[in-house]
Symmetry: C2
Subunit: 745 residues, 2 copies
């Protein structure tokens, strides 16, 4: 026991030193100067838990470009931020007010432990927002709070100016729990080390406790073990010899932890016979990789240059204006990034027209495909369980975003309500890949000397969430032709499984000669990359020329010709089906029964009589293959269709339910949609799910090059003619004069 | 009649002046100085026909950048080019030799009219090419010639050094005709004007003959009219008031022309009652569009800058080396661009390894979806009928390709065998869109200060073919992670249909209230954008680590768990099926029965025992919906599956058959594949078809912003670990110093 305590102490000290060594607290509104609610600030501020939160204030991660000809303005400190728009996120001042208001509320004065799992703006009603114009007074500012007090969850609304607190749902009676806080995740990483059996198991594997990293893994909901108790699982890795500890799993060791008390409930170890994979070749950091002089040609620097500066402005911190677009942009702890009031200027009518009221990543679903004890539960819902925005780390200038990018910080509330700043969480930049926006050349046979071409320049809004091993890159890309592309990139590190196999030729075969199902690919000695899926479900409250829209399935069908009608036997025609109720809007894509999916305003037409519209254009995707009765698929039933259409309902924003953690699937998009409400000529919301199957291969080791897919929102008879027409070509005399010599070179 | 002749004369003069006005003949090896085979050079060199060919020598289309800090070397004049590689295209000197050799051959000394429809390198056998190394003597240089003599087609091989001519197939007995020559297309544009009925029809519509542009439209094959005669159709447009004559169809007027004699066979006019749409708002040229000062923000210039120059080299005119890649690149009159001997350097093994022996666009299929007389036959096969490379016009620097691009010319043979140069036909450049090659950030809870990110820099090879109205942009994009992306972009102008309708509310309804099938969308007054498809079929002779490969379908299947096995009810597993014969390689993609498609070398494994491989990764695509017995679909039966796998056969390169023009579908990829030959562990060719459905919308008027899709060739257990690992991040001190001031500003 003494040995155990000693190791624990060493571990805690080393971990704390590690974190402190690269963090600094320079946030002027220091958490320790505010009234405190939670344990953290009463502990020593050097504890890993607090250091972790302090890390969030760290500005060291943003190396200021030295030789930038136009240095970007330093992100401001947010202390004096005021809201300028009804949809602006809560400011530092407002978050502190909310915290004070809550602190004096009866719910939080009890001795029961309490956590604020979410403190965000309670958005004003849509009509108020739509009516609001710059210069008007803001609608009353309110905070929507989800809190855990003792073993209960509460939903509250706090009126910031009046100080009034309204208990919306108290305590919450539906299944599921709120999103974990970063502090809870941090505590869970330490919890196993307080268990003697755990420490013994680690040591028996010949691993130093100081070399062990444990990771909080949401446990899903499968019945027994997850009933009436908020639990989490933890699995551990050896970081001995590598920062890429994900490649060194301590396989089969799963610790079940009470997420409220942080007590270890159960330890299961199915893997003592499985060696921990080696660290060779797992590091991916630039400074540790010898760039050996082989035949690979070194790349000369390449850069997107805009010496006259970017063409967009961000007014009042959140209102982005570029080319014919304008929209409100804000970081969000759960969704990552929220786009609101997306509007486009029509050069023909000279109006600024509504396209989308609100768009964001509503939920993710990442099921792994191994039914064994240590893997079956890995069926993550990253937004609702971990907070997609909370996991968005600062973007790395020059490499996560190009040199011409402008950054936006997130201002969120910690578990005790203290505001903190996530610097450089979002970037905005103009992109030009050398692609062609449109072109036409005439063949000499027509006698017309036409050589028209336009470069394709777009505006990208980007965030990247690192949910443990995986890195999700979310881009919203605006085009001058009126198209919005939502792109999901997957990078980061695989979640791998330890195995006794060192070579595929050792894999066991049954009497028929069939190989054992590895549930993945042998990537390196003792390492299996486990098959898994990724689904990203987008909430798209399109308001095409106003809120009342209809969803039209334009079905492409083969039509056989009548005898004598034509030398052709067949052609393809379109059949328009206007969706009357939600079930008409439940769409399963088909390559052989294709459709277009229009969101139209049937009350407004173009000059020649087409209803104005946008269409959702699916691109490469994958469909869930799991049994609909499998518990994870039931919880993620929102992936059963690629498209759903629901009537607008302020409470229906999170496809897996507001309380996704340990949810049972009784409050998902699928459940709402099955109510089959009317959706014709109504304010409707479209949901699109983008899927990926991932069968790992050795090229995913030790890091994964970005794989991406996307879908488009495309104007369809929205404009009289294409607005890109007025785009200017590049002229040599407009382009920059650049030199290779750098100041420091 | 006198009036008719007068108009004809005026038309010819104006057309000729038009063409001459923007062309110049400065090709030093002037066609008129060589021995002549065809009519063109015996005519006045100012005739439109010859001017058209001379146009091809025109260098005026390539404005040399004035302020480029590193001016690109002027493309050389090609007169002294010598072949350096067994796969190098025929040079000017070689083409002239072929021409002289043929000229003295009996076949061409007869008085029968003759045309050289194709003169290209007869590539040496694969094993010779593979064995060849720089410094070795080249294998014997030969030309493969397809000629039309009188009413017969001949296939010949010309040994350039010995002067020997081998008649391979003489005359050809299979269905179909060779690709049209540019000269033939030009003659067809003029043919209708020699017909009095035609001229009367035009004048009766109130259109001046000088305002009419007629266009050669391949007629397909439907039986009667196309039997035993080489025919083409022509339809005409009014260019009065616009260069965008495609928007002003003279609807319903179709002229059937004998393509050998250029005589009008038949004129059908179903459209005298249909007005010619107006010219308002159809122009798309920058200088003619008033950039009205509206709310659209003007974009500041943006440019891809590489002041230290590009990172690639093109050795000996055709061998491209960039990062870990090397490949042979050549323009081709039929395929557009051909990539050969694509190899990648493996940083771990330090070998340069084979990936693909040859890759190119084999055929296109573009069926329109209107069964009426003037439209049913529009089922184009752009490579075999028009020559995808012949239609590739010079790329526009700064707008078709970015500033850092390097250009490559095509050297082709005219119909009389004279070589001509298509300048700037291909461009090569490094692209960086601000995207992320790979990244990983660690959450603070792991205590590791990881913020690694790498910019995604790629190498793009581009060509753009303008097949009449449509512009196809073909990109081959190489990534440092070993992936090759083939991307097809569609831009240009719609082929539209005239209609009496000015508004959708005028569309006729039947007694049930169903609207008349417009076969498209009303885009503007009297203009219907007709529904159509695009299919682009790629020939991919993958040779993964050598020629002998197998095709493996890795099927993803739901597996239900055994009772008691797991709290999960289901998971997804892979089932590998090695294709034994061609029918196993006929693949129809399915979202709900997904597979990966691996091309493996089963004789070579990675260290841990995975067979080395690449996979074909389909992305967004469309499948043909036409009846398989519909004549156009029979001719384009190669689009019946998305993937086919055939054993390598030098004669099977063109998916629609060598003689696609008026083919009957008896020599397509589908016919070859149905022979069901063995394909396991053999030299195999993979064929992938990328499809697009296009239901036009008003945003396609008057030009179409680029719509694109792609597929990937992706290393799959080819490398031991990802080669992108060694990619360098961007450092500020490496990036250029740029100023906005331009020299001329």
């Amino acid at each position: 026991m003494e040995q155990k305590s000693f190791f624990r102490l060493i571990f805690l000290i080393v971990t704390a030193c590690f974190i402190i060594s690269f963090t600094s607290t320079n946030f002027s509104h220091s958490p320790s100067s505010t009234t405190v609610l939670l344990d953290c600030t009463t502990d020593s501020s050097s504890s890993p838990l607090c250091a972790s939160r302090n890390f969030l204030f760290n500005k060291k991660q943003r190396p200021l470009p030295k030789n930038d000809p136009k240095p970007k303005p330093k992100n401001h400190d947010h202390v004096s931020d005021t809201p300028n728009h009804p949809l602006d996120p809560l400011t530092v001042v407002e978050l502190n007010k909310v915290r004070s208001i809550l602190y004096s509320h009866a719910l939080f004065t009890s001795r029961a432990p309490h956590t604020l799992n979410s403190v965000v703006l309670e958005e004003p009603d849509k009509d108020l927002v739509q009516k609001w114009e710059k210069g008007n007074t803001l609608p009353p500012r309110k905070a929507s709070v989800i809190a855990r007090v003792g073993l209960d969850t509460h939903v509250l609304t706090v009126d910031i100016s009046s100080g009034q607190v309204k208990l919306e749902d108290s305590p919450v009676r539906v299944s599921g729990y709120p999103t974990m806080t970063l502090e809870e995740m941090n505590q869970v990483t330490l919890a196993p080390f307080s268990n003697a059996d755990f420490n013994r198991t680690i040591i028996s594997r010949g691993v130093n406790l100081t070399d062990v990293n444990c990771f909080p893994l949401s446990s899903g909901w499968f019945g027994k073990k997850e009933e009436n108790i908020r639990v989490i699982k933890s699995q551990c890795y050896s970081k001995q010899g590598t920062v890429n500890f994900y490649m060194r799993p301590i396989e089969g060791l799963t610790i079940l932890i009470d997420l409220d008390t942080k007590q270890v409930i159960e330890i299961v170890d199915t893997g003592p016979a499985i060696p921990i994979p080696g660290s060779t070749n797992t590091d991916y950091r630039f400074e540790n990789l010898a760039t050996n002089p082989d035949k690979t040609r070194r790349l000369n620097p390449i850069s997107l240059e805009q010496p006259r500066g970017p063409s967009f402005v961000i007014e009042d911190n959140h209102l982005v204006k570029w080319a014919n677009w304008e929209f409100h942009l804000k970081p969000d702890p759960r969704a990552g990034v929220v786009l609101s009031r997306v509007r486009v200027h029509d050069p023909d009518t000279r109006e600024t027209r509504d396209v989308m009221y609100k768009g964001f990543v509503s939920e993710l679903f990442v099921p792994y495909m191994d039914p064994s004890d240590a893997w079956y539960f890995k069926t993550y819902m990253d937004a609702g369980e971990y907070g997609f925005g909370l996991q968005a780390m600062p973007l790395v200038p020059l490499n996560d975003c190009p040199r011409n990018a402008v950054y936006m910080d997130g201002v969120f509330a910690a578990a005790d309500g203290t505001p903190f700043v996530r610097e450089n969480m979002v970037c905005v930049f103009e992109s030009y890949a050398g692609d062609i926006g449109w072109r036409h050349s005439e063949s000499p046979i027509t006698g017309l000397p036409i050589r028209e071409a336009r470069p394709k320049v777009t505006l990208v809004v980007r965030m990247a969430a690192s949910v443990g091993n995986y890195d999700y890159i979310i881009d919203y890309e605006f085009q001058t032709d009126g198209l919005i592309k939502a792109k999901v990139g997957l990078s980061g590190i695989l979640m791998v499984k330890g195995t006794t196999y060192q070579n595929k030729n050792q894999v066991k075969k049954d009497k028929y000669g069939n190989e054992e199902d590895l549930h993945g690919t042998l990537l390196s000695e003792n390492v299996i990359g486990v098959i898994h899926d990724h689904y990203v479900t987008f909430y798209l409250d399109l308001d095409v020329d106003g809120p009342d829209n209809s969803f039209v399935k334009v079905n492409l069908k083969r039509q056989e010709t009548e005898p004598g009608e034509s030398p052709r036997k067949s052609y393809m025609k379109t059949v328009r089906n206007v969706a009357k109720t939600e079930k008409d809007g439940q769409i399963k894509l088909s390559l052989y029964d294709p459709s277009e999916f229009h969101i139209i305003n049937s009350n407004k037409t173009t000059r020649v009589g087409n209803p104005t519209g946008y269409k959702v254009v699916p691109r490469a995707t994958a469909a869930a293959l799991l049994d609909h009765d499998d518990p994870p698929q039931k919880r993620a039933a929102f992936t059963n269709n690629q498209i759903w259409v629901t009537p607008y309902n302020k409470s229906e924003q999170w496809a897996g339910g507001l309380f996704t953690y340990q949810s049972r699937g009784d409050d998902t998009l699928a459940v709402w949609s099955d109510r089959d409400r009317d959706i014709e000529n109504k304010d409707i919301v479209v949901w699109y799910t983008l899927g990926f199957h991932h069968v790992p291969c050795q090229e995913d080791f030790p890091i994964m090059p970005t794989v991406s897919s996307s879908f488009d929102l495309k104007p369809t008879n929205f404009f009289e003619r294409n607005p890109i027409l007025r785009a200017s070509p590049n002229f040599e005399h407009d382009l920059p004069i650049c030199g290779a010599e750098s100041v420091s070179a």
